[in-house]
Amino acid sequence: MSDSPLPGQVEEKEMQEMEKGATDGPISAPSQSDVISTHNILASMPSKTSQWSMSMHRRGRSARHRSARSARGTRPALLDVEGQGQDDEADLLAEEIAEGKMAVRDLAKPMDAKREMLRRLQGKRLKGFGWKVSAQRRWKKSKENMHDFFAKLEVWRSPMHSIEGKFGTGILSYFQFMRWLLFLNLVIFLLMFLFILLPSLIFTRQEALVTSQANSTNTTQANCESKYVPYNESLYQPPENHISDYIVDALQGKGIMEHTHLFYGYYENTIQRIQETDDFTFTYNLPLAYLLTSLSYFLISLVLMVRNSAQGLQESLVSSEDKFYTYCNKVFAGWDFCINDGRAADLKHGQIRYELKTDLEEQRILQKQAKRTGGEKCRLYSVRFIVNVFVLAILGAGGFLIYYASTFALQWTSQFGTDPNTDSFLKLLVTYTPSLTITGLNMIVPIIFDKLVGFEDYSPEFEIQMTLLRTVFLRLASVATLLGTLYTQIACSTYADPECQVCDVEIRCWETYVGQEMYKLVIMDFLVGTAVTLFVEFPRKFIVSRFKDKLEDVVGYQEFQIPKNVLDIVYSQTLCWIGTFFAPMLPAICVIKTFIFFYLKKLSLMHNCVPSTKPFRASKSRTFFMVILLVSFLLCIIPVGIGIVQIYPSRACGPFRSLNTMFEIVTQTIMGWPKIVRDIFFFIGSAGFLVPAVLILCLLLYYFRALSVAHKKMVAVLKDQLILEGKDKHFLLQRVYELQGTTDPTRAKQKKAQADRKAAAAAKTTPNGHNNESPPPRVPSSAWDNNTSHPNSVNDGW
């Protein structure tokens, strides 16, 4: 530090001088009159002049109890007024506990004190409310047993524990996310298994065929079915080709694989007989079950996701609402108490230090940035513009590449695919070109994005977000492009073609074809993921640790980057969602894949990785995962939705082969119901119902919005009251020391120093526009009035 005062300091000093008068205002004003009774002092306290006391009543009893408890429990109060003894307090607490508002275990007291409280309570309970308490207890007990039971069911508890201990909660949340997805896929699989696969295996007696009202389709259907031969045994005659053919087929989902329950095309368009009594036959409508189950797996996924993300979202909304509290979060919630590993602890120290330093640095940079000159700004913006154009170009080029690859694969297959002389490996390679292109792009392009963002000179945090956003776009765009390409290939069909080909290409069952594409992507994703882990990450660690001195600076140990890994599994979940409709058993593969990946990732993490130097917070990440998942979920709904309501189902295969759209099965079923039910359904579908329903929803939305605004105002008011409370304390202390004639000089001095500093702080920030120059009582009281009237006004409006 140089001797000459920095400009900032000078300013600060001046401000201090200026503000001193202002802050002294409320304190010195009452002291002008020399003789004041205690009563007057109390009356002139800042809060008494506002409606503070009223609000105290409003806050209710429990709040008062709590403040009393915390005041006594956690600190020896400055002004010791605890003469009334501990008993009152204990009684109050006991009462509160007995009423079931809190539990004995919530007391911040040592075990002995709690036990004492428990004894007291038992005495109390004998006196009064008998059955209610015992019912409560039984309920609690059963709840505890349930909790015990579920704790036993928790999968991967110990691996999670060791991950948490070594790498902290940020990375743990990634693995928790993975576990959650595993269960989601398991649920989807069970649904598909129970309602689609099992019935089609068990109920073997056919009752009727599902057909469209227009009977003309039936002949084409029969014709097409005979044309569609997914598995031709005659091609498998030469025995020496047998094994390799099987492997190739398994990887492509063709041949014998296509002829299984894995794919859409294998399911029948029949109504199966379950059981018949004398006058009634129980039947199972397979097409209807297929459609409803598919819809319900989307619905269940959505509900589970929303449920999971709601809490996290609330938290992160609260925290994003005021960026205000980042430092407190970093300091008071900075240390991860779960860490039990020395190296991890060192890293955590480093991480916290790094984070705090960068934050402080960033603050300074921001202050500097505000002073950026016009020329610099101009240059920076043009650089950013160019980079963004470049990014768009890359995305576009990627899209085109995927389009080109999938068109090429299809054309090549229709040209040479049926030719028995073509090498089967070449065939495999060609059919995999779209998947290979997508996977390749996903590997290379993010690295380019990573480099590009460096030129743009964003703040570090925003930089991460920006790269992530672009990568998400890439991932989703590549899947979207593939689906788009597929759409152009399938959607042109008129089914006039006697060969039953969709458009001009060699597809007779487009749903299975889409399913195969998804299946290939899933397999590809799995193979690449495994290969990268085994053949890149492990050797890297081996080499780096072997030539430690030479290579450590150049290559370095691998960092476990959460965002990238999350994108990977979200991507594979996207594939699973889309694919499940066209290949009902795909979730089983996804479950296995997730299961293997969990152990693979954990192994790689434990052996190869060091914690990332860029910290990633647990609370933030959970929301982030869910938001990305939701976005990709929406992307999944669109193609499947179009497939269900718009595109003609293939004539040759699948449960909907004779219908004009898949959704027709629902209308057909409703038409078969009694008239009254049908009418209700049609009414629900009509504008007469939908318009009022939407209106009501809008009104509800508005109501809750108004409510949340009111709550926000309430928070602001309470904040002001807290400030007032502090002012009260200040004011009272001031009076006390004045009256004592500063018998406690150190205290007084300290207070004086604090008052000075307070002035400085006040000069720097006037939070909520709350200004010290205005007399403090005015602001809160007006704010309070505002607020009390607000809910009423909302009610009046209703």
């Binding site: 008071f332 330093k357 409370e725 702080a761």
Partner: protein, 184 residues
Amino acid sequence: MGGSSSQFTQEELKEYQELTYFTKKEILHVFKRFYLLDPPSVRANKNARLPKEKIWSLPELKVNPFKDRICDVFSSSGDGDLSFEDFLDMMSVFSDAAPKNVKVEYAFKVYDFDSDGYLDKSDLKQVVDRLTGEQKLSDTEMEQLVDNLFEEADLDEDDQLSFAEFEHVISKAPDFINSFRIRL
């Protein structure tokens, strides 16, 4: 530890269950961990008061920068030594099931180095110093940081955080509930 379940009567276990956030099994697990800290003395007397040095050998505490404060706060004798009940208390507060407000109260005590009921500048400095480990922040950085902290949290501008202010600020710190816990 073969007969750990025989260490406690059913009544004792039931009472502990009511006084902590643990199930019976978890309580026995906590006892096992306590036992492993110093097998001879616990075997002799299960209510033995273990010196804090022994307690610090718990892996989570060993690397924890606030281990002495944690022991002080939970010690019913006030000198940092913990009996089993204190230990159980501690693990209960740090468990997943403990509600946020309980955790906040204890966190406040832990961070309140001079136990005067307020977090003042020196408390905050100590907290930050312990968080950053051996390499400390420079003086100017520390000043800037403490200023920022007060700016965020010190609503009544008296240069110290009262419990109410601390509670308020923690309610806005989403990571707290994740970080202030020790897995059993």
